[in-house]
């Protein structure tokens, strides 16, 4: 499918992280080049390997933050004018904090677990997929991959960036689900919106 063309809620929106430890932002950050990092889904408990294209979906997301770089508008006084002018300054890198319904097993600090990546200082590729409908892909490994038979089966809008999994803060609850805040630092521009066609 192509970009989402109707108004609607992003019920199936997805955040994924590329598990390749040698990840680097593509020299030409095109949709096709970014897509190569998100070709095969692997489990939380799978080992990080140098295999390009392996990614893991970050599950149980409860709330996404705003996407993209916030504006940094600077007011510039203008002599002889009643109002100042505004110019776009260099924006501060946003803090990308994702609220999760916390499932400790998924974030355990053990060999080969995704939890090991939190605070390891390595650069990873991230993909946010805005999805109003669930992927119709029939194969588990590619259902949410940036391939025609995966996200290409439904209307999708994709955003990519490089970042680090900086911290996971647990927020125990007594009357609601336990939550956690996953903080991702932004180490590149945001690229998108792209889409994957069938």
């Amino acid at each position: 499918m192509t970009h989402i063309s109707s108004i609607g809620a992003g019920l199936y929106s997805d955040l994924s992280v590329c598990r390749d430890p040698s990840f680097a932002v593509p020299a030409t950050p095109s949709a096709a080049n970014w897509a190569t990092f998100f070709a095969t889904e692997i489990a939380y408990s799978a080992a990080n390997t140098a295999t390009v294209g392996e990614f893991t979906r970050i599950l149980n997301v409860r709330e996404f933050p705003q996407m993209g770089v916030p504006p940094n508008i600077v007011n510039v006084p203008t002599f002889g004018s009643k109002t100042s002018r505004q110019v776009q300054g260099q924006a501060d890198a946003p803090t990308f904090e994702v609220t999760l319904n916390y499932v400790p097993e998924l974030w355990q600090k053990a060999t080969n677990q995704l939890g090991v990546m939190v605070g390891d200082g390595n650069l990873y590729g991230f993909r946010f997929a805005l999805l109003n409908a669930d992927s119709l892909g029939g194969t588990a490994a590619t259902k949410y991959a940036t391939v025609a038979a995966g996200l290409g089966t439904v209307a999708n809008s994709l955003y990519y960036w490089a970042g680090k999994l900086e911290a996971l803060q647990i927020n125990p609850q007594l009357t609601d689900a336990n939550t956690a805040v996953l903080t991702i630092s932004i180490q590149s521009d945001f690229y998108g919106a792209f889409t994957i066609d069938p």
């Binding site: 063309s5 109707s6 108004i7 609607g8 809620a9 019920l11 199936y12 109003n132 409908a133 669930d134």
Partner: protein, 134 residues
């Protein structure tokens, strides 16, 4: 076609699809005189009574009254509610370019013995939806 007729047409078509017919649950729209009283069956009411995000859009709720034999326990009703979930929950139905109906999460409540027919037990399956038009 206006938005209300669009909603009726698209949602009722779900219950006319092969996928739903294969569930073997007799389904009737509201305000329809059914030809037999075989139970279980469900009665669908579409209530587009909420505010939309623009003048072409509206939110609402789909109510499915589920009728099962009185005195047979709740399992049959829960089974039908689960079937409805399979076909409706979090589903988006494109009607045309830029026109869609999107369902959210459902609830299922036990009402009790049907006031019109004491041989029936009624439960109510409810699921909110948004109809959006660009």
């Amino acid at each position: 076609m206006g938005k209300y007729l669009n909603i009726d047409t698209r949602i009722f078509s779900i219950f006319g699809s092969d996928a739903w017919l294969s569930e073997s649950v007799k389904t009737y729209p509201c305000n329809f005189i059914k030809l037999d009283s075989t139970v279980p069956y469900i009665r669908i009411s579409i209530i587009p009574s909420g505010i939309g995000v623009n003048k072409n859009s509206v939110s609402g709720v789909l109510i499915a009254d589920i009728f099962i034999p009185n005195g047979s326990g709740p399992k049959a009703a829960s089974t039908i509610a689960d079937k409805l979930d399979t076909h409706l929950i979090n589903k988006t139905f494109e009607i045309a370019e830029g026109v869609s109906t999107q369902f959210f999460n459902s609830t299922h409540s036990l009402v009790g013995t049907d006031v019109d027919n004491s041989a029936l037990y009624r439960t109510t399956y409810t699921i909110p939806f948004n109809y959006n038009e660009v």
